[in-house]
């Protein structure tokens, strides 16, 4: 009877859960139990605090599922035996299918009008990519390999799908840590950016009012995605999947001919892919992959990447302010990190704090959507070097 009970106990996940089979900083720890605890904290942050709930809930639950011992949800297919459910769903992430699909949905929901009205704001989107490359350099300094450093650096693009796409191609083992860092910091944009904006700008610069943007014709909006796709993908084929899908989504929207497709993409497809992407990214955060000293380094490097990206945008904003004789408010440079539309909202809020009659939202949307293109181009460059 005792043997029966013991056999039953050993066949349950509970017996495995308390086993100290994960080593961290020389200590043997119950890795799965710790990861379930971390997943519950993320669920709390997403549900109670509202931190990126659409992605953080699936990510955290994926993390929870993959750390349940003996469930084998991420088990590979061996011989005639099928793999786990999450293993098959993960193929969409590993093969680089879900992130471009998310880009399709983003494109269908993006208005490039503010960017077309003020094309030089594209440069602010480029300057904000500084965070990617400084963090890449920092990661190399800390001993990460080139592909790993590129995947960590892309956190600075503040663009979740781009970060996941690049990491799934270059360093899939870091996918869980990078996804958690990228989406956590994106939720914290309203906390991270304001002090950096304040530090780098003067009170006089912060109250600058910008001229109203010109009207953009429908034809310009239709031509833009076609021209960008042709030019960018011909120059940088490695950025083709992201830029191509982004611009396809936008063209569908701007064409005005396929409202049912656009409605489907903006709503149903977006949410379906978000669930699959979030769940499978979370499933890469198993104890042995997540509970490593590198995860802490990635989290620290991630916040540096966000800070440097914001600083890069604001500093170029200052240069453009000087060159235009004070016509550009440098704060809009902070929106060059692509977290759309969060970063633009932060700029609007900060602008109104210093000048209640100032409306910077549409001016900030230009660099904001430019940041999406900029981070996709940066990802293409890193793929070119490290794939």
């Amino acid at each position: 009877m005792l043997e029966l009970l013991q056999g039953f106990w050993e066949s349950t996940g509970f017996s495995q859960l308390v086993q100290c089979n994960t080593e961290l900083f020389g200590l043997r720890l119950p890795g799965e139990l710790i990861m379930i605890g971390i997943a519950c904290i993320f669920l709390y942050l997403a549900i109670r605090k509202g931190f990126e709930p659409y992605l953080l809930i699936p990510i955290a639950f994926g993390m929870l599922l993959v750390n349940l011992p003996l469930a084998g949800l991420m088990a590979h297919a061996v011989g005639d035996e099928n793999g786990g459910l999450l293993y098959y769903l993960y193929q969409g992430t590993e093969l680089g299918i879900y992130p471009p699909l998310i880009f399709l949905c983003i494109g269908a929901g993006t208005d490039f009008g503010p960017l077309l009205a003020n094309p030089r704001s594209l440069l602010l989107g480029a300057a904000a990519q500084l965070g990617i490359f400084t963090t890449f350099f920092g990661a190399i300094f800390l001993g990460f390999t080139g592909p790993e450093a590129a995947s960590i650096g892309i956190i600075g693009g503040a663009d979740g799908p781009t970060a996941l796409y690049l990491t799934s191609k270059l360093a899939p083992d870091l996918l869980g840590a990078i996804a958690i860092a990228a989406y956590s910091y994106m939720a914290l944009v309203p906390v991270i950016q304001p002090p950096i904006i304040k530090l780098l700008t003067t009170p006089e610069e912060r109250v600058i009012k910008m001229e109203q943007l010109r009207e953009v014709s429908k034809t310009e909006k239709i031509i833009f995605p076609i021209v960008v796709t042709l030019f960018t993908v011909l120059l940088l084929p490695s950025a083709g999947a992201l830029i191509g899908m982004l611009m396809l989504g936008n063209l569908l929207k701007e064409s005005g001919r396929v409202p049912l497709l656009v409605d489907c993409i903006q709503k149903s497809l977006m949410y379906i892919v978000s669930i699959l992407l979030g769940l499978t990214v979370g499933a890469k955060a198993s104890a042995e992959m997540f509970l490593r000293p590198q995860t802490l380094q990635i989290i620290v490097l991630g916040v540096i990447a966000f800070g440097m990206g914001t600083a890069g945008g604001v500093l170029l904003g200052k240069v453009m302010c000087k060159m235009t004789g004070g016509k550009i408010n440098p704060m809009i440079g902070a929106a060059g990190v692509s977290a759309v539309p969060m970063a633009a909202r932060v700029v609007q809020k900060e602008g109104q704090k210093y000048n209640p009659s100032n409306f910077l939202l549409m001016h900030a949307m230009g660099p904001n959507v430019a940041g999406v293109i900029g981070s996709a181009v940066a990802a293409g460059m890193l793929l070119l070097f490290f794939q």
Partner: protein, 112 residues
């Protein structure tokens, strides 16, 4: 090029500099393409506009404000529950407030 390699700091610096330069150049090129497309599309529109420029100089309303004035007049009419021929908009002035228009609008909706 450098797949599965631990690259040196020198190479990392070159990758950083080159990649950032390409990102800047690509986005700068796109910005000029936007200008080019805008110029091509509006080139023909400007020509007919040049002819009547010398004609009636007596029109008192500045053209650029017309659109905003019409919109504001319509908004005032909607608020007052009347039509735009029952009042005259003589001047439009933005009032600085501590709250954003969104907050004010939200409050108005709640009160209504």
């Amino acid at each position: 090029m450098f797949a599965n390699e631990t690259i040196t700091m020198g190479r990392a610096l070159i990758v950083c500099g080159f990649s950032l330069a390409v990102v800047f150049l690509v986005l700068l090129a796109i910005s000029y393409m936007i200008d080019l497309v805008h110029w091509i599309l509006t080139r023909n529109e400007k020509k007919p506009a040049a002819a009547p420029a010398t004609a009636p100089a007596s029109d008192p309303a500045p053209a650029k404000d017309d659109h905003a004035a019409v919109l504001i007049a319509a908004a005032v009419a909607a608020c007052l529950g009347t039509t735009t021929d029952r009042f005259v908009v003589r001047s439009i002035r933005r009032v600085a407030g501590e709250e954003s228009p969104w907050v004010q609008s939200g409050r108005t909706n709640t009160i209504q």
